[in-house]
């Protein structure tokens, strides 16, 4: 057991020595791998943030019920009582047309436009929080509400949640495909680096064999080399995404504020960071393994 540990420590040290022996090559290799990995890692960071945002916004679906412009106070009161009595509504809030007008007058940019309008263009509206949030129930409610007297339009806020969901699924697939393609690139780069390493170490490999080294002893430093190079690439990618996150945080917060959302860009989550390092090291190891089986003559 201690002999086994010793061999692994020696192999790791040897791999580090070989990496340190050619610092420029090591740095360039780590940069190439890091930049390749930064694309999917950065995509994952954006995606994780989008998901967090989407969850916050779409936590409770709402149904907006817009009355016709010519609806009178009586009609509004009737619809309100219908909505309140409906078994599947949890909360019903009336947004009077005067309130909508006032709010938009106060909002920047739109104020002057609203001011210039001859009459109030906004209808009375209800915001309904449904008790049942399944898409079928929401659809059924929409179909029912639209038949109420003087109701002009019913909008399901779940529609844009669905769109957002579809968008996020597509984005997730894109990031995964990107990660797969660049993962293959990482394996290919390691494959080639290890091939060159084997050529450089040819004398050492031959002499070690003559002195009684097992195949495992000869291969081990190359495995460590590949895994360490992959890990270095992962670290570069992680650092690049971190820098990008910090640089984007201010502008993104400003942009979100324009939409009335308070939002701070988060750095890559811990689990994703661990996954990045683990995969980078594993792919480096795999590249080394492929290269050894191809280039190391037994």
């Amino acid at each position: 057991m201690t002999g086994w540990l010793l061999h692994h420590r020696q192999a790791a040290e040897q791999a580090l020595r070989r990496l340190a022996a050619t610092p420029l090559n090591t740095l360039l290799g780590a940069l190439v791998l890091g930049i390749a990995l930064a694309l999917p890692a950065g995509g994952e960071m954006m995606l994780a943030n989008f998901q967090r945002l989407a969850q916050r916004i779409a936590a409770t679906p709402q149904i907006s019920v817009f009355m016709a412009l010519d609806a009178g106070k009586k009609d509004v009161a009737e619809v309100e009582s219908l909505l309140r009595r409906h078994p599947q509504t949890q909360k019903v809030r009336l947004v009077p047309r005067e309130e909508t007008l006032r709010r938009l007058k106060d909002s920047e940019g739109l104020g002057e436009v609203i001011e210039s309008l001859p009459r109030n263009p906004f209808p009375d509206a209800f915001v309904v929080v449904p008790g049942d949030e399944t898409p079928e129930a929401l659809e059924a409610m929409r179909a029912e509400f639209v038949k109420y007297p003087k109701v002009e339009h019913v909008q399901l806020d779940s529609a844009w949640v669905k769109k957002l969901d579809a968008f996020l699924r597509l984005a997730r697939l894109t990031v995964t495909l990107l990660a797969a393609v660049l993962g293959v690139a990482l394996v290919a780069v390691t494959f080639n680096t290890i091939r060159l390493q084997i050529l450089t170490q040819e004398a050492e490999i031959e002499v070690s064999r003559l002195l009684g080294a097992t195949d495992a002893f000869i291969r081990r430093p190359f495995y460590y080399f590949g895994a360490l190079q992959g890990l270095a690439g992962g670290l570069v990618a992680w650092g690049a995404v971190l820098v990008a996150t910090l640089l984007l945080r201010g502008p993104v917060a400003d942009l979100a504020a324009l939409y009335g959302i308070e939002f701070a860009l988060h750095i890559l989550p811990l689990s994703d960071s661990a996954l990045l390092f683990g995969l980078a090291a594993l792919l480096g190891w795999a590249g080394a393994r492929l290269s050894l089986s191809r280039h190391l003559r037994d």
Partner: protein, 217 residues
């Protein structure tokens, strides 16, 4: 103990490098292997650590038939055989100390213990002062002594050497021959292939002679 039984080695193309070799080197014995260039001395030595395999017969080293050894077992056979090559096969990217360290690293000897043994081996060949030197900075004789230190550091029971005194001046060559004799004196089985038999004459060693791949009687 090394025993050859009816050993033949034929390379592809039909050239017989060795034929009908039968002889033994007893434990603790020192034997000189002589013969003209191309007589098959190097090939014979390569059969012992299974660098080459015989096409006929058995090569028995310490009770094991090397000819039938599984590939995975060969490293462990080699750890018990110190080898000195005509071209030394030193690693030129590391110090004398690290060259001698390699067999111990391969055998998994703990670092502190290993350092002590490396210095002991360098001391035996008179290179203790040069432990930090790179091989290129060493003279021909020093390089050969370094190769010997590497061969003996793991305390093998068998030492085989292929023309260890080639390209060395007479004094240095005698010096190397004496070093081999000293290892034999402490119980190591030594087999040296050389065409400088006279160097080993003072030690009254047994001599076997190859000619065209066969032993001369």
């Amino acid at each position: 103990m090394i025993r050859f039984e009816q050993v033949g080695k034929r390379y592809p193309g039909g050239i017989a490098a060795l034929a009908e070799l039968t002889f033994a080197v007893e434990s603790g014995e020192m034997v000189i292997l002589s013969g003209h260039s191309g007589a098959g001395k190097s090939t014979l030595l390569k059969l012992i650590p299974a660098i080459e395999r015989p096409t006929q017969g058995a090569v028995v080293v310490n009770g094991q038939n090397v000819a039938a050894l599984k590939r995975a077992a060969i490293p462990f056979l080699r750890r018990n055989i110190g080898m000195i090559f005509q071209d030394q096969k030193l690693l030129y990217d590391r110090s004398a100390f690290d060259n001698v360290m390699l067999p111990l690293a391969i055998a998994g000897v703990a670092t502190r213990d290993a350092g002590r043994r490396v210095r002991a081996a360098l001391d035996k060949v008179g290179l203790l002062e040069r432990e930090k030197a790179m091989p290129v900075a060493l003279s021909g004789g020093e390089q050969q002594r370094l190769a010997i230190a590497r061969a003996v550091v793991a305390r093998p029971s068998i030492l085989i050497a292929d023309e260890p005194t080639a390209h060395l001046d007479d004094d240095t060559a005698r010096d190397i021959a004496t070093t081999f004799h000293a290892f034999n004196q402490v119980g190591v089985t030594v087999l040296v292939a050389t065409h400088h038999e006279s160097l080993f004459a003072p030690f009254m060693t047994r001599r076997i002679t190859l000619a065209h791949g066969r032993l001369l009687p």
